[in-house]
Amino acid sequence: MAAPLRFRLALVFSVFALLSLLARSSSQDLQIANAERRIDLTSHIIKVFLTLKVENTGASPASEILLAFPPTQVDHLAVVKAAATVGKRKKKTYQPLDVNPSEQPDSPNGTKYFSVSLLKPLGKGESVTLEVFYILTHSLEPFPVEISQSESQLVYYRDSAIILSPYAIKQQTTYIKTPGTKVESYTRVDPTIHAGKELKYGPYDEQPPYSYSPIVIHFENNNPFAVVEELVREVEISHWGSIQITEHYKLVHAGARHKGIFSRVEYQSRPSISGVSSFKHILARLPPRVHSVYYRDEIGNISSSHLRTDSRKSELEIEPRYPLFGGWKATFVIGYGVPLEDFLFESSDGRRYLNFTFGCPLVETVVDKLTVKVVLPEGSKEPSAVVPFPVDQHLETSYSYLDVVGRTVVVLEKKNVVPEHSIPFQVYYNFNPIFMLAEPFMLASVFFFFFMACVAYLHIDLSIRK
């Protein structure tokens, strides 16, 4: 008995030692040999592509890699994705990895972390190349804050020339792409080169962990700053053959505010210098085979829209009643119907599920608060939603035509939604097909009883005298 006991003790001790080693192998044992960051500032949705070649210089394998962000940037992060590169050159493939926000003790200056979970742990001396992609919204600050109709829009972008990381970086370069060649000013952190539409910061060698060198770039960006402050999408499923979608938008131009006069004659006669940062068209991508599309607001139908359909997609180009200048708002409703067979399926365990696209159909827009309401038919039970990214969920009941108990509504809410969130999500529910007869049965029985009552009234003799 003593031998197995001692064996078990030794096992426990070695596991404990290994665990403690793993816990300490977070920051100091990993090193980034090469980092390349490309920041795309062409639109108001900032896309950053980070290529990191991570080496394990420690003694124990590492199963996760930490990404660090300054606290000001973390509030505006909409998406963080990572993938591991496998293979070289022509045979490169990318394996997507899980990225989750992570809390680390003693983070300097309130740095926030995301941890990338590797598919197989990185052994001692091994290296892996990670491709990280993240999106920042509301991070271009217009300056001047107010502009007139004939001025161009200039914005500030604040970041660091040196990539913030809990690991030491041996060599790194950052490339920043601006929409035009006009850059009013930029912070020089040598070596810095500005050529055409690209700013190159680097290469910088041997940077210790948590190095940070703040830079500010002041440049011209006239691409439309279309922000939807609030979007409510109602997806109503009807088993009689179609899904009706109604979307309520509150759109605003989130760039430099418009001050002073608006001269229509200048806007129409000199479009190249007048209202360059304003926009008057927005494109909405709708599913194919869409029907009964309408575009209206509180005071009626808006006739300025074009619908182009083909077999794979539909595009609705909407033109709000007036062009949007900085700070101007517009609210409207877009509604359409799609055939049921495109989106409702039956899963292997007998439950039905709706496979629909999350997100906002408008291209290149940020939605500050998105609410998706999936209205399930009456008689649906046990609804549940499967969404590929974190959302707030709750259930509601709504009442519609011929409803007795009410329809269950699955409500999904998310803040800071960008076009990368337009990916499918599923809502599962149980539905007994006999419930489809409930409505026609109700209607038929009401008429039946009414006619029976008429027949009875005409044939029953209610007179007192014989």
């Binding site: 002073g260 006069i261 608006f262 001269s263 229509r264 004659v265 129409q268 006669s269 607001d297 509180e298 005071i299 009626g300 808006i302 006739s303 300025s304 009643r321 007036y322 700070g327 101007w328 708002k329 517009a330 609210t331």
Partner: protein
């Protein structure tokens, strides 16, 4: 024959009996043009002005402004107070400074005028101007109709009277209108306008709709320092 009757009725109802006067249409060789300027202006007011801002216009547009733009108006279609209507009429017929004083005393922020000269819409405020003069003159004696008439007619071309060319309605309708075609040809009155190049001193243009049918101006705030003539 019955089927043709149905088709004919639907066509007649769509083409001849469905003319909402707020959305105008015209057929041209390249299709149907829709003039939705009124709703464009009301939607702009609804979303891009403060909730308590007051809009002054001729009383014909009062109800539409209240309902669609959701803003307070000075006179609307059911105003019974003739003096109040005459106040607005006088303001429209006065020179800029006097008009500003009247509107400022009513706490007005925006002035709305309807102008059909660019597209040929005949029911605009210049054609209704004679009523502004007559109603205003009926209450305020300094507005005299003969001041605006040349040979018994209201003119806005080079033969117009100086009072007419200086009144607020003329200025707000034709501000920078000459820049559209270089000559300032008014399609409703069928003549070039009299005063083509002028600046506004007490008002600023904040919105004009796509076909220039509705023009919205804002009252400029008073100057901080007033020069006293010695």
């Amino acid at each position: 024959l019955g089927a043709f009757y149905v088709v004919h009725c639907v066509w007649a109802a769509a083409e001849a009996y469905s003319a909402p006067s707020i959305v105008l249409t015209s057929h041209s060789h390249d299709g149907l043009h829709v003039f939705d300027d009124f709703r464009e202006a009301y939607a702009w007011l609804r979303h891009n002005t403060e909730v308590d801002d007051k809009v002054a216009s001729w009383w014909d547009y009062g109800y539409q402004t209240t309902a669609m733009a959701n803003r307070t108006v000075i006179v609307d279609n059911n105003t019974w107070n003739n003096t109040h209507i005459a106040t607005v009429g006088t303001a429209m017929s006065s020179p800029e400074k006097a008009a500003w004083e009247i509107f400022n005393s009513l706490d007005v922020k925006y002035v709305l005028v309807v102008f059909g000269g660019l597209v040929g819409y005949p029911s605009d405020d210049i054609n209704k101007f004679l009523w502004m003069v007559r109603i205003g003159g009926g209450v305020f004696p300094h507005i005299r109709e003969p001041d605006y008439l040349r040979d018994g007619q209201y003119r806005i071309d080079s033969q117009a009277t100086p009072t007419m060319l200086n009144c607020l309605m003329y200025k707000l309708s034709y501000f920078r209108f000459v820049e559209t075609d270089g000559k300032g040809f008014d399609r409703v009155r069928r003549t070039e306008i009299g005063k083509k190049y002028f600046k506004l001193t007490h008002f600023e243009e904040v919105f004009t709709t796509h076909h220039w049918m509705v023009r919205i101006y804002k009252l400029k705030p008073p100057k901080n320092r007033i020069r006293v003539k010695k």
